[in-house]
């Protein structure tokens, strides 16, 4: 088992490296990294002349105590733009590991601080969404497998498909409009006053996020339960005289939960993506909305830092899910 874990940890590290590389690469390979860092200043083509003293530097950037070419020069030095990409990547990676995620272009605040403020809210949202998803999916999934083929089952099937098919931004906008604005049943945006108000104001967005995932869980659970119900040991249990409900909950559910666990990790990815949109709709100052805002105002360090944190979190979660799944199912350990 220890060797297994060790191997997995190595794989985890390798994946983290490649994920960070993807993040780094996306911003550095697609488009000119200089443009990403200094924006339109990158179009300035006379910096050689300025350096040679043939002309005066211009001062268009906000940091107007420094000339444009001075800024460009500094950016190149700071971000090592004269070095090969791989070397740049490792420098940047080194910074990340020591916790230095740079500072925001907009406010000069450290990115790690910004993330530390915003991440807990997103985490709270996602945890609540998962809880809601499971709370809805498990009973409904069990019941629809129990009553397989009957109208109830068909109805929930259609409902599940429906929830899977509606985009979460559409659902979010509709829910916000109806439940929070037109009828003020729940808050329209995040309320940070106390733990209670935080939970209360996250109910709507967590539901929006959770319902889509609940549909996936429910369908998966149902399929798996039905398969399990075909197995011999269930026939045996029935022959022995056990009630259906007993069989369902005590014998059939446990193995079927395995499928849920495998999907749990993947669904976190869907949650993260969904949070980008839902946080915006419900004015939640979490990391999802921060990424979107930072991308739009070209705040390169914030974007990169947030993306790395999110991607790393995602990988780590999947790692633990994998580990847990393996620990539960001895058959898989062998592979």
């Amino acid at each position: 088992m220890a060797r297994f874990i060790a191997r997995r940890v190595v794989q985890l590290i390798l994946v983290l490296l490649s994920v960070t590389f993807v993040a780094f690469g996306a911003l550095n390979f697609l488009g000119d990294p200089l443009v990403n860092i200094v924006g339109p200043l990158a179009a300035i083509d006379y910096c050689d002349e300025v350096e040679a003293g043939l002309r005066e530097d211009s001062y268009t950037s906000i940091n107007n105590a420094k000339g444009d070419c001075e800024i460009i020069g500094e950016a190149k030095a700071d971000f090592g733009l004269d070095q090969p990409v791989v070397q740049r990547y490792f420098t940047w990676l080194g910074n990340i590991i020591t916790g230095d995620l740079g500072t925001s272009f907009q406010t000069q605040l450290p990115v790690s601080e910004i993330i530390a403020q915003k991440l807990p809210k997103s985490l709270m949202l996602m945890v609540m969404a998962q809880i809601i998803a499971l709370a809805v999916a498990i009973p409904v999934g069990v019941y629809s497998a129990y009553r397989a083929g009957r109208p109830v089952d068909r109805a929930t099937s259609v409902a599940s498909f429906g929830l899977l098919s509606i985009p979460n931004f559409a659902l979010g906008v509709i829910v916000l409009q109806f439940f929070a604005l037109r009828n003020q049943w729940l808050p329209a945006s995040f309320d940070d006053t106390s733990f209670g108000t935080r939970i209360h104001s996250l109910i709507l967005p967590a539901t929006v996020l959770g319902l889509g995932i609940a549909a996936t869980y429910q369908r998966l659970l149902r399929t798996d339960l039905l398969t399990t119900l075909q197995e011999d040991f269930v026939h045996m249990a029935r022959a022995k005289g056990m009630t259906d409900r007993h069989i369902m909950t005590r014998h059939a559910l446990r193995p079927s939960l395995f499928s849920l666990i495998t999907v749990f990790g993947v669904s976190t990815g869907a949650l993260i993506g969904g949070s980008l949109v839902v946080e915006g709709i419900f004015s939640i100052p979490g990391i999802g909305s921060e990424i979107v805002t930072a991308v739009i105002r070209d705040d390169f360090p914030v974007v990169l830092g947030s993306v790395v944190v999110i991607a790393t979190g995602f990988v780590v979660i999947n790692f633990f899910v994998d580990l847990f799944y393996t620990w539960l199912d001895p058959r898989v350990r062998a592979s």
């Binding site: 993807v22 083929g149 899977l164 559409a170 039905l226």
Partner: protein, 297 residues
Amino acid sequence: MTTSVPSTTVADDIADDEALDNAVKKRLGFGFWVAVFWIGLVSLAALLAPWLPIPDPNEIANGTPRDGILGDNLMGTDALGRDVFARTIWGARISLGVGFLGILLGIVVGGALGIAAGYFKGLTDQIISFLVFSLLSFPSLVLALLITASLNRSFLTVAMTLGIVGIAPISRLARATTIQFAEREFVQAARVIGAKSRRIIIKELLPNVLVPMGALTLLGMGISIVAEGSLAFLGLSVEGEAISWGKSIVDGSQTRDLNQNSHVAFVPIVAMFLTVMALNFAGDRIREYTDVRETAF
């Protein structure tokens, strides 16, 4: 639908083909064909949009602004008085187009990677699997966001972005299917005869792999269409005057518009919803039809 057939796949033994055929045909069901019909209808409308007798979707003040459904315009007008019905049909061109092109990229690249990994195994498999896992480990919308924010936002870029996001799951399916089939007798036989790998892949494996991938194609298209909507919501979908469902939904989702003339958002929402649902449903039916055991999409 109460039974799910575990682990058997179509064409397992030649003898059972017919019996299975019947069973399968029954399972596709009426719903499947309704879904296919809808998808076909929308695709046709999208393709023929320039020749349909509908108003110019970009014509400002074609009707009274914010006019409701079944007024002078079939599905009403938006905030600028443009015909919503026409914009929805033209929007299908981009939304479906981006979805289709994206998933095509995903299939070509993902399929190739997956088949190579599954067939050649060994180091090839390890490397490809690792790359795919890394890509899969990256939250997809965030990746899409990064790409469209860094590059331009042309039709091709958005399609490519959605495709890249689809490569990982598709290649995993292709790999799983390939592994399954590579052990089969007919493939072993071909190897023994001395047939080249490429021939085996193309003639024996590909047809069998493509069928379950067909299911994933439909599902993937649905996901791509929704993803385009999310990108539009973040302001990063196709730029300029191009119309897409996502952009129409965003335009109609301004708070005041939702309150007073919600049809502007709801018509494209319903169009997207029905189409994605049809794709999901059809894809799901096909998946049960082929029933390859692989992890959820």
